[in-house]
């Protein structure tokens, strides 16, 4: 989302600077920074508090500024350009290395990836077949179990029905 504040950079910086100084001034004033409290060896605690408050105000102002900036059209465009350039650079490097390695008759990353892709395809097909086989076995076991149940209940109605091996495996 682009911010309208990006129109005039000078105005933007001066607004940020004024805001930040105002916030730091307020923080110092709130902490009651005494002007002549530094005569002793240890600074007055109020001085420390004021310095910390001003530091906090500075960090907060900067964080707010960065957050606004990182949402601006300027930043997003710059990010895109940087990324495009780094991708172009990466491609150029890759092309160069591939050409060099190919000339040297050595395998390149693409070859290894092709191999991995082939293996992955074999693996996927094996998994599919195992899944199908599992389903078939389950169906056969269920049918056998149902047959046994029917037989058992037919032979002796008082006996408890048996559980199929597949169901028995389930906890």
């Amino acid at each position: 989302m682009a911010s309208d504040a990006s129109a005039n950079p000078t105005e933007q910086i001066s607004r940020f600077w004024t805001d930040m100084m105002a916030q730091m001034g307020q923080a110092a004033a709130h902490a009651g920074m005494p002007g002549g409290a530094t005569n002793g060896r240890q600074p007055a605690p109020a001085y420390d508090d004021a310095a910390k408050s001003m530091q906090r105000a500075f960090f907060d102002a900067m964080a707010k500024y960065f957050d606004e900036f990182m949402r601006s059209e300027q930043f997003l465009e710059h990010m895109k350009q940087t990324m495009d350039q780094s991708i172009a650079m990466k491609k150029m490097m890759d092309d160069f290395l591939i050409k060099t390695q190919t000339t040297m008759q050595s395998p390149v990353r693409g070859d290894v990836e092709d191999l991995a892709h082939l293996l992955r395809g074999i693996e996927e097909r094996l998994f599919d077949r195992i899944d199908r086989l599992e389903n078939k076995v389950a169906a056969v076991e269920d049918r056998q179990g149902a047959g046994r149940d029917a037989k058992a209940s037919g032979a002796s109605r008082s006996e408890k029905s048996t559980t199929s091996p597949r169901n028995a495996k389930k906890r």
Binding site: M1, F66, L76, E77, M79, M83, I87, R120
Partner: protein, 369 residues
């Protein structure tokens, strides 16, 4: 004191008496003298130290089973699933900042999914591989190992999104679902990451086509840039100010170790996550597909606990909160805790106030031994 210094607080900083700078100088000398001790403490820090066995491994993935002297009180096991970005030991960072230990202390049988580091040959792994294959195998293995029919699942960050997807596809396997700072709805466009991944500026296809996997340095840089002052300035100022505190140094080093221990994300997974989630927001609309299977979050009917961090800059509450309205569960609860994205798992306050409540919630919904 002059009138000028009375009215203008900045004037009070001006008198440069030597006495004014002495304490600062002394503090500096003291810290420099402490350097060898700091280095020694930092060198001793051991992250992810809770004892564990590996009960299952597949490709790069490992499932860790944590050991504890505390007797088990709950039969239902708990599986922790972290994001594919960074390492999962953030959930077991240090003994006193370990979510794993909180659950062990509460009598749970705890397992953690370590996805491992994908290489270039894993660039083809999709979300379908992670959810339908790896996660299902992990859940089945844990169920078999513990002789339970169902398993409780806790997903953190992107791991929470994957856990939600898994639960919607296999509701029969999940006893309870806890999401922790997990994004499910990207309709709110205010979040910085959502703006950065806008298709107008972010060509995920070009990045993945060029790099194969999502490069870890790019991901880490982007995450750090979300809070530049906090990550590049305040953190080090804070370290300088507190480097005399041994416990602080230990925690700082542990966090830095984890923060810089980045791993790439499998290319196709990253591509799909950015496109379907960040750019098209398909998950919350029930339109996201893993292979041929459509993810319908209303299939989730188990008890749900949705943990959100109010100061989360990475996953805003607006991205997590809609989850409770999208599921079909009747027993659902949301907790918004005052912490950041990582603070949810490592802050002292979270370990004192949040995790005991989470353990209680889960304990009430788990099978007792």
């Amino acid at each position: 004191m002059t009138n000028a210094t009375m009215s203008n607080p900045f004037m009070s900083m001006l008198p440069p008496t030597p006495a004014m700078f002495m304490p600062t100088f002394e503090g500096f000398v003291e810290r420099m003298a402490a350097m060898p001790r700091v280095m020694e403490t930092a060198g001793k820090v051991k992250v992810g130290a809770t004892p564990h066995d590996v009960i299952y491994s597949e490709d790069k993935l490992r499932v860790l089973h944590y050991q504890s002297d505390i007797p088990k009180a709950h039969a239902t096991p708990l599986v922790l699933c972290f994001a594919l970005v960074n390492r999962p030991y953030i959930l077991d960072l240090l003994p006193h900042k370990s979510v794993v230990r909180r659950f062990l202390d509460a009598g749970f049988d705890v397992f953690l999914v370590d996805w491992g580091e994908p290489s270039q040959n894993d660039r083809h792994l999709t979300i379908e591989h992670y959810v339908c294959r790896y996660m299902h195998n992990v859940m089945s293995r844990v169920a078999e190992f513990t002789e339970q029919e169902q398993v409780s699942l806790l997903g953190y960050c992107m791991g929470g999104t994957l856990s939600a997807m898994y639960t919607s596809l296999h509701p029969e396997m999940v006893k309870n679902l806890i999401l922790m700072a997990a994004p499910v709805d990207w309709a709110e466009r205010d979040a910085l990451l959502v703006q950065w991944t806008d298709p107008k500026y972010y060509d995920v296809d070009a990045i993945i086509d060029a790099y194969g996997n999502a490069p870890p340095h790019v991901l880490q840089g982007a995450f750090a840039l979300l809070k530049p002052m906090a990550n590049f300035v305040e953190k080090y100022v804070g370290f300088y100010e507190r480097m005399n505190d041994e416990k602080f140094v230990e925690e700082f080093t542990a966090m830095e170790t984890w923060g810089n221990d980045n791993i790439p994300v499998a290319g196709e997974t990253f591509r799909q996550f950015v496109k379907d989630c960040f750019q098209k927001n398909l998950l919350s609309q029930g339109k996201m597909k893993l292979g041929t299977k459509r993810i319908d979050l209303s299939n989730i009917t188990c008890p749900v606990l949705n943990l959100m961090a109010s100061n989360d800059h990475l996953v805003t509450c607006g991205q997590s909160a809609p989850f409770n309205d999208l599921v079909g569960s009747r027993d659902r609860k949301a907790i918004t805790f005052r912490a950041g994205h990582i603070g949810l798992s490592v802050s002292s306050r979270a370990h004192k106030e949040l995790w005991p409540n989470v353990c209680e919630w889960l304990g009430e919904r788990s099978e007792k031994i």
